[in-house]
Point group: C2
Chain length 337, copies 2
């Protein structure tokens, strides 16, 4: 999810119209989350504090704390634990972004230099570790091992998903099932955890907690499928000129997997050898994507996951926050279309 | 502590004579720790499992679980929680080793290829993260937020110490106080935590817990001072031909800090410019080290810290495990002399 925080995605906490629509009911809570985040990672050492300052521009739309807070309000109760846990999930996400930038040798994030660009890979790896350990320590301050267990489980799955994806790079026979396993870990496990924690600490009943966790999971899956699609077909303002960084890194995503499965075997084999040999020509892939309806297929899958997510919200009584969560399912799949 | 696991240091669990001396009373507990470690990180994905197999040779003398287990036995009680926590501290330590090897671009560890050498930096960074998150999740399975808090605090300090050290590389005016702050974080925080957890979960009284935590801290400091000294002056079998990797990386350690402080100002300044410009000549440094008695000074500091550590053991009733802990203070500072 390294592209999640790009400015063109930043519609959630700064919606274009009507202003403040999404986050208004939890705006003060998001500020509280922000304060906990800042206070937790603060360091008295000037050299470390300067690095931490750079993290300000790593934080974009705060999808994960927003999900956690809206779920809590939709379940009818907001507690200080929610603010702490909102900071925890944002900190875990920030840790993965800092390490992603090292992995991708990225020099810029949101138009400003990355941590690795400013201080080198060593410091960036250690800063990511620092954020992970502070997130876990912060969780423990709530005083309940159950919260530590849930955050521990979710982060285990995030790391396993990322590791799985990295080890599968260059595998041009990746199946749809394997793709979904990967994004279920690297993205959906944490969004599911956000909604579970939001509901749990609001005192929701067991069934509601499960349905909201499933809402978070499906939303995360829809979001990632849409994000991967966007990486491949490009945003409108990019003029569709690139084939995306995933393909450059030989990471197969849903449209390509569908395309390869739908083509006749010999054609798929020859396309795989094109994809496996340096930079593939856009034309060759675009034609095959077109003929197999692969982009449409992936968009439909994202829409369908988002619709399933919205369905889980029926577990909640009607409220403004429930409607905002429903809006998020639409936003997740139609951010740039 | 990247050199801790080198084979020539492996005297603790494989003592040369008499065989089994150190670990015998906790040998079965160490096996239980091992099983928890393996079961916790196991992955059903063959590609991940192969990477995890490589970790076997990252584990050397198991200093941290041994400390935790001996402390528990010396306090009179061993519980399943001790086995879990022993695996946790070893997992945290292993995570830092995996990331250290990426940081140091190390190709070999204990004569076998490192994770980064086998699978690349991306996978190695993610595997380190995987170990960190699994360590935290494992801690939570004990069901007590207090354990999560202690592990969280210790790992925060380890990361802050490592970050501090990395950001101070090239600072040839590092003071002795700053050096001790760094090693107090990167090394002593975790050894202190091991002894604290060992005592706490054995039901020791508050004062005993504090004194044993201080024992662990002082032992960690003594160990690190001795380790840094060894890096500079070399092991006997290395013929003293190198000036050590710390100096190559422009990390000032205790003997050099003392040397620079003890020299006349103009001589210190000219030596700083020699140290700051590429590879310094051994002769120039060796002479100044000699004249200022810097090696002797650092050795005395290590011995004195070890003696202070041993003093804290008076909080315990006499036992075989107490004597083994006392032996560890001597081993910590005299491993290769």
């Amino acid at each position: 999810m390294s592209r999640v925080l790009s400015p063109s995605h930043g519609a959630l906490t700064q919606p274009r119209s009507p202003s403040g629509l999404i986050y208004a009911p939890v705006a003060h809570d998001l500020e509280a989350v922000e304060r906990v985040f800042e206070d937790t990672i603060a360091s008295p050492r000037p050299a470390i504090a300067r690095m931490l300052d750079r993290l300000t521009h790593y934080r974009g739309k705060r999808l994960r704390p927003t999900l956690l807070l809206l779920t809590a309000r939709a379940c009818g109760r907001m507690t200080p634990a929610h603010h702490v846990l909102g900071a925890v999930v944002e900190m875990v996400h920030t840790a993965t972004l800092v390490h992603d930038d090292v992995l991708d040798e990225a020099g810029l994030r949101r138009h400003l230099p990355t941590v690795n660009a400013g201080w080198g890979n060593k410091a960036a790896i250690l800063l990511g570790d620092y954020l992970f350990t502070h997130a876990f320590h912060l969780t423990s301050t709530i005083g309940e091992a159950r919260a530590c267990e849930l955050i521990g489980e979710a982060t285990n799955r995030v790391c396993e998903g990322e590791l799985h994806q990295t080890l599968q790079r260059g595998n041009l026979n990746l199946t749809e099932a394997e793709y979904f396993e990967i994004i279920d870990g690297k993205t959906a496990a944490l969004t599911a955890c956000c909604c579970r924690l939001g509901a749990l600490y609001a005192g929701a009943g067991a069934e509601t907690v499960e349905r909201l966790a499933n809402f978070g999971r499906l939303l995360g899956l829809a979001f990632q499928v849409a994000d991967d699609l966007l990486d491949l077909v490009g945003r409108e303002d990019a003029g569709g000129k690139t084939l995306g960084t995933d393909l450059e890194q030989q990471k197969l995503t849903l449209p390509l997997i569908h395309m390869l499965a739908a083509l006749p075997a010999d054609e798929a084999a020859s396309l795989r050898s094109v994809l496996g040999n340096g930079k593939p020509k856009r034309a060759a892939v675009a034609n095959a994507l077109d003929r197999t309806g692969a982009v449409h297929y992936a968009r439909e899958r994202a829409e369908s996951l988002a619709a399933d997510a919205a369905g889980e919200l029926d577990a909640l009584p009607p409220s403004e926050c429930r409607e905002l969560l429903r809006m998020m399912t639409r936003w997740a799949v139609r951010r740039d279309t």
